[in-house]
């Protein structure tokens, strides 16, 4: 036998085994879910729980027979609170690991770092985090809450309760800047006045001067949009300087459980709008919390983003089972029907087909002097309406762009 024909035989044998292997394993071929979250670095505190939530949901789903009979396999990388790691690992999960879907990102900076890569490789990603809103991108599903859900509820409540003079202290990057713009607009619409705004670079931990600036401006309450563990030092320092002003936030408590970490009463009169925290006292929430603690007994806190990540896995299961496919285009046809809903630990949630964002139950959490949480108000079924009303309609057109109130979708 000549050398060439031998090689041919060899190749044929190889292909044969490959074909056999894939046809034999077809029914149980796993669905691969990439998980890119920060398990170390400045954001780890708020995001390790997201990974655990995804593991919890995946275990439950696999025990109950998987997604459409296929097991769910997680491909987890630690992105180290570093935007370049997001880009690196996003390329890796899409190109090398060939995952069907990716759950990725905490900070908006990281999301905007990886989003072009998802678009470029035609991937499918879930961002399971509250954020400043405005991402109109068919490759993305956002399960976190957005400003029309968190600020349109919170700011008017605070202005009615405490007064119309507002001071914003925000982290200096896209999240803080765009959220501050939302706050400014809502304050103006409600006849209030911004008496000051300061943007704090990430990683800053000393706030003496900012505290004095706030006292000088004499606001009725302070909107704190501080991100990362370093910036959380503000509360302790403001309390020790006796600032004694009510605070409002869309990120604190619900992500970084500051009320558990700092000594009372440094977070007294902090008001947060969140779609989930572990203190929520409904049977669904208690059941979720119990399951979580059973699997991860040393979890310090089950936060908003953990719940978003947990429900996102079940949402993805429903999408795949209804589309009978893991292809993004097939799944988006199901989303376009507009009836993709589920019962989450927070209550019923639905995906809005125009923006691929999610409706939420919004809980107003108030931190007391002893750091106990009460819920003075609950808003049911708040829709992520802004993008749709502004002109983003992913069922018709996919601009893969992030819009802001000052940079809305072009009117066509």
């Amino acid at each position: 036998m000549s050398r060439n024909s031998l090689r041919g035989l060899h190749a044929a044998a190889l292909t044969g085994t490959l074909v056999l292997a894939s046809s034999a394993g077809f029914a149980a071929d796993p669905i691969k879910l990439g998980v890119l979250e920060d398990q170390s670095g400045d954001f780890a505190l708020a995001t390790i729980g997201k990974v655990h939530a995804i593991q919890l949901a995946a275990d439950e789903i696999n025990k109950a027979g998987g997604i459409a009979g296929r097991p769910l396999q997680l491909v987890v990388y630690d992105t180290q609170s570093d935007n370049t790691r997001y880009q690196e690992f996003m390329r890796r999960v899409l190109q090398r690991d060939k995952v069907d879907v990716v759950f990725a990102g905490f900070s908006s900076a990281s999301r905007e770092a990886y989003r072009p890569i998802v678009d470029q490789f035609n991937g499918f990603a879930f961002y399971n985090n509250q954020y400043e809103g405005g991402v109109c991108d068919g490759h993305m599903i956002v399960t976190g809450a957005v400003p029309e859900q968190q600020f349109s509820t919170l700011i008017p409540y605070m202005m009615q309760t405490y007064g119309k003079k507002v001071y914003t202290l925000a982290a200096d990057y896209n999240f803080g800047q765009i959220s501050a713009e939302w706050v400014r607009n809502i304050v103006k619409e409600n006849g209030g006045q911004m008496v000051g705004e300061e943007f704090i670079p990430l990683g800053v931990s000393q706030f003496s001067q900012s505290i004095q600036n706030i006292q000088k401006a004499k606001p009725d309450f302070v909107v704190t949009l501080l991100v990362g563990t370093a910036q959380a030092s503000y509360y302790e320092q403001a309390a020790s300087a006796n600032v004694n002003l009510p605070m409002a936030s869309s990120v604190n408590v619900g992500q970084g459980y500051e009320h558990k970490r700092f000594k009372p009463p440094s977070l007294k009169d902090m008001y947060v709008t969140t779609n989930y925290i572990e203190e929520i006292d409904t049977p669904e929430s208690k059941a979720f919390y119990a399951k979580f603690k059973a699997k991860f007994p040393s979890e310090p806190y089950v936060n908003q983003e953990a719940e978003n990540s947990y429900l996102a896995v079940y949402l993805y299961k429903q999408m795949v089972e209804r589309a009978k496919s893991t292809k993004r285009d097939d799944i988006r046809k199901v989303i376009a029907l507009g009836d993709l809903c589920m019962d989450a630990p927070e209550g019923k949630v639905c995906i809005d087909p125009k923006s691929q964002h999610m409706s939420h139950t919004i809980y107003l959490a108030k931190v007391g002097a002893d750091h106990a949480i009460t819920f003075p108000k609950v808003w049911k079924d708040i829709k992520p309406y802004w993008l749709g009303e502004a002109g983003c309609d992913l069922t018709k057109k996919d601009p893969t762009t992030q819009y802001t109130p000052s940079n809305p979708p072009p009117k066509s």
Binding site: S40, G41, D42, A44, L45, I48, D172, E198, F199, I200, P201, G203, V204, S205, Q206, S208, Q209, S210, Q212, N213, Q215, K216, K218, T229, A230, A232, S233, E236, Q237, A239, S240, A241, N242, V243, K260, R261, F262, K263, S266, S298, P300
Partner: protein
């Protein structure tokens, strides 16, 4: 607003920035200035001091004792690190950078894995006081006094004690000191421990005012390094005036335009000082003197 209120507020902000710069930098300055070792694990010694302080407070110790515990434990860890790692790299300064950087990564991630992503805070003591329309934290004044105390203590230690004389002799002409019977290895070890202990002290002092997380050392590192870089090799003549100059720039810029400009001002000041005085402030002062 009257002049007195304004003046006090400017003074308070200056003192606050000064304390942060000096306390973060002192330990680094001792280790770099006296030994020429660039300790990139400086932030983790600070974190160690803060963690020990917080856990001993949770265990029931009063805060001042807890802070001392934090400093002592950091110093002991410093001895260990010196014995195991730094000792073997004294004639390879660049390698100490890599080694201490590795240590810092191990310490941060090790703390995250073993202790968790955060530790409960201890709360700031002493309350507040009012001047004009502003209220201030009393503990911040304590921090300022502590910074002055540390500077005075270091001056006394290195100029008035036998250890100080031996340490300076060892640093200037190690072979001669050894020939005269000084145990130079012990002196190096103690000096490194002193630097690590000062870092721990800074961590302990700031522990009540900050988030306690494994990465907390990183928030001190930039200020510590720029203060040492523009201060130069002498601990007392360098760190104190460098802290003073940078604190004026930082507090003035922050009160004028906010935190971002405070940081920009700080870094611009550093660039200018390094350009004009390449050997740092202490190099300039010492050259003038001789």
């Amino acid at each position: 607003m009257d002049i007195a209120t304004l003046a006090f507020s400017a003074l308070y902000q200056f003192g606050d920035a000064f304390a942060f710069l000096v306390l973060s930098a002192c330990g680094l300055a001792v280790i770099f200035g006296m030994m020429g070792v660039i300790n990139l694990a400086h932030g983790e010694f600070i974190m160690c001091g803060a963690y020990v302080t917080a856990s001993t407070v949770h265990a029931g110790l009063p805060l001042p004792l807890a802070i001392l515990c934090g400093a002592l434990v950091s110093a002991l860890v410093g001895v260990l690190v010196e014995r195991l790692v730094i000792r073997h790299l004294y004639d390879r300064p660049l390698d100490t950078i890599v080694a201490t950087w590795g240590l810092s990564l191990i310490a941060t991630q090790g703390t995250l894995i073993m202790i968790g992503s955060s530790m409960a805070g201890v709360g700031t003591p002493f309350g507040s006081f009012q001047v004009g329309q502003y209220s201030y934290s009393i503990y911040r004044i304590v921090l300022f006094l502590a910074a002055l105390g540390v500077l005075g203590g270091l001056y006394a230690l290195f100029n008035w004690t036998r250890f100080g004389v031996l340490a300076r002799a060892t640093i200037q002409v190690p072979h001669m000191a050894a020939a005269l019977g000084v145990d130079t290895r012990l002196i190096y070890s103690l000096t490194f421990a002193c630097g690590a202990g000062l870092a721990g002290l800074a961590g302990g002092l700031y522990a009540p005012t900050m988030t306690l997380v494994p990465t907390m050392g990183a928030t001190f590192i930039m200020e510590a390094f720029v203060t040492v870089v523009i201060g130069g090799a002498d601990v007392f003549l360098g760190t104190a005036p460098a802290g003073g100059v940078l604190a004026v720039v930082k507090s003035a810029m922050t009160s004028w335009q906010g935190q971002l400009f405070g940081q920009i001002g700080l870094l611009v000041a550093v660039i200018i000082v390094v350009r004009v005085l390449p050997k740092g402030i202490s190099g300039f002062v010492l050259r003038e003197r001789t």
